[in-house]
Symmetry: C2
DNA sequence: GATGCTCGCTAAATCGTTTTAGTTCTTACC
DNA sequence: GGTAAGAACTAAAACGATTTAGCGAGCATC
């Protein structure tokens, strides 16, 4: 059984292909197709189960009603939730989303961009990798709208972005730890040159400085990006056990690190918060359920997804009208501190 | 800046469109295009950054090198991991994947099937909803390969499936609980008529019967599907607190329920495993990290993804060769019991 | 010097739509 | 009775590729 095409419908209904097209696209009235013909065509189409071929349609119109979503890793809770929100939002605007994971690799990201471009997606929502700015500029040059999420390029303000206010979030977290009396606050972060992580790290340093609390490199653990799960876990275990009572609090800068951190703390049987207070950037089911419950800086994931989508739709509407390389400050949403038992 | 098309390349290189096409598809030698022309075309294509339009290509060839993946909810850890595996596997075979969530709703699933069909995906990997068999048969009738994952239709053996051996998994879990001396084993499951869940439930009943342990409806809690997260949590809290010492073990039949279960247990301050042993079908980061660690029946997610993909690729190769409605018993993979502190 | 081969390439059809520019009837109007 | 103005459709080009059939030039063969 082959698929039925518009000409099958036309033949069966005894009208031209154009007429069928008009009827299927609600242009029948505008094109003054008679009531009877409209009904005839609609019936035939229904009976034969006609579904327009979107490839042909996309080829002709240049619009696929599809947006490309590029995340770091779809199996990570943060991105999976974000992806679901964006999928749901897209549906509201009658768009489909195609998504893919970069694993934070520039080359893989470029490949994905190519793939999506070849598939003629109408717009992009991207969690960029470090050196992706040039490739993204190229998309914009083809007047394809792009909105970054979660990360951004401070030196490329012509690429709009929606993300959490990383600086503010970590600043609040650090302030709170200090308020609670912790003075020897360790920081565990992932190695990266991306701005959003620098914002987080800078906030930590700035707040400590503001409170005249000495900072030392020995308080900061940077886990290399290419570490395996086990390798990273090991390093955190090493760091925490070596630090011992030199630290009284630890701030994990990502969800992923926080989960490993919990595992390390469990392994070392460190008492939280008596021996060590724990705070993590970004929430996770585990943090709510662990004993003790872990305090977090909670990103407004749904809001990020919604705003990114709204922003993209806005740009899609202007549809290539060469919206003169506008400068858009990144949209920064506030992350709340959710205080639980760990601090 | 518009996209460059094959005719742009042809014009600039001073050859015909056909020649460019042959060169781009490595058919140049077969078509006896000269070395110089090949190089000329390749250079021009590279300089102009030519990327073939996949819509046009797909329209002409009928192949999009894309597979559709339909899961219940991409933000669920199980499906997110499965999706990532399938994405990675697909890349090995040079296929792209488009995915979408049904939220376990038949109508939504049908819509997605339509959408993917209109986009001419070459094949499907589907986590089906209850009444989707007919719609899937229709895809098969169009000779589009389909492989089910995680769930199956026992009465439709012509639809291949790859899933865990649910019966065996729950049977092993129940056996182990009995071995350990638990006699009043509660079951918490989600309301559904789907076979894979019945397999799980039947295993529980069968094993208890085999051991002549009385079963009672009061030991089984069925959470209605449309329950909100909070509603479901409430029901589990109610059930556990009402059951009290009438039960000495509880078996959660899904990952999602297990997480809620942990939350309920924490709330009720039930001592695990002293007051209550806990076992859950399907693993989750939380179960490894919770105190005490929670025992699980661990599904081989990567293997499910790999086998499903391999099976689909096999069928894609036969490419419409009307592989006479073969009967395929579902592939059932063994789930291991991971014993942790909770039993 | 006609025939046939091989070589190296191109013309044109095709996939399934959308959309512009007509075409063919009626009816209206002076 | 001739023209203009709708009404109700249709023909054909276009989108960007792939693919089949074929064309002209050069050479070998008899």
């Amino acid at each position: 059984m082959k698929k039925v095409s518009i000409s099958d419908i036309a033949r069966k209904a005894g009208v031209s292909v154009s007429t069928v097209s008009f009827v299927m696209n609600d242009k029948a009235v505008k094109m003054r197709i008679s009531r009877e013909v409209i009904e005839k065509v609609e019936n035939v189409a229904r009976e034969m189960g006609y579904r327009p071929n979107q490839l042909a349609r996309g080829l002709r119109t240049g619009k696929t009603k599809t947006i490309g979503l590029i995340v770091e890793n779809i199996s990570n809770a943060f991105f999976a939730t974000l992806a679901k929100t964006i999928e749901d939002e897209a549906k509201k605007y009658d768009y489909k989303v195609v998504y893919a994971s970069t694993d934070n690799d520039d080359d893989k990201a470029r490949e994905l961009l190519n793939m999506l471009s070849q598939r003629q997606v109408d717009g992009y929502i991207i969690t960029p990798t470090l050196n992706l700015a040039e490739d993204i500029r190229r998309l914009q040059a083809e007047s394809k709208p792009v909105v970054l999420i979660d990360r951004y390029f401070p030196q490329h303000s012509e690429i709009p972005a929606v993300l959490v206010d990383n600086y503010e979030g970590v600043a609040r977290g650090t302030e709170r730890l200090i308020e609670k009396g912790y003075k020897k606050i360790a920081l565990i972060t992932i190695e990266t040159e991306m701005a959003h992580m620098h914002d987080r790290i800078n906030a930590y340093y700035d707040v400590l400085n503001r409170h005249s609390i000495p900072v030392s490199d020995s308080l900061v653990k940077i886990v290399p990006y290419n570490s395996s799960r086990e390798g990273a876990l090991d390093q955190i275990v090493q760091f925490l056990s070596k630090a011992g009572s030199d630290i009284d609090a630890v701030f994990f800068l990502t969800n992923y690190l926080g989960v490993l951190g919990i595992e390390a703390i469990k392994k070392l049987q460190i008492k939280v918060p008596e021996q060590l207070a724990v705070l993590c950037f970004d929430d996770n089911d585990i943090f709510r359920l662990y004993t003790p419950t872990i305090s977090v800086i909670k990103q407004p994931i749904a809001e990020i997804g919604q705003q990114a989508m709204a922003s993209l739709i806005e740009r899609l509407k202007q549809n290539g009208e060469e919206v003169a390389a506008v400068t858009n400050a990144p949209v920064k949403l506030i992350a709340d501190l959710v205080a639980r038992e760990s601090i």
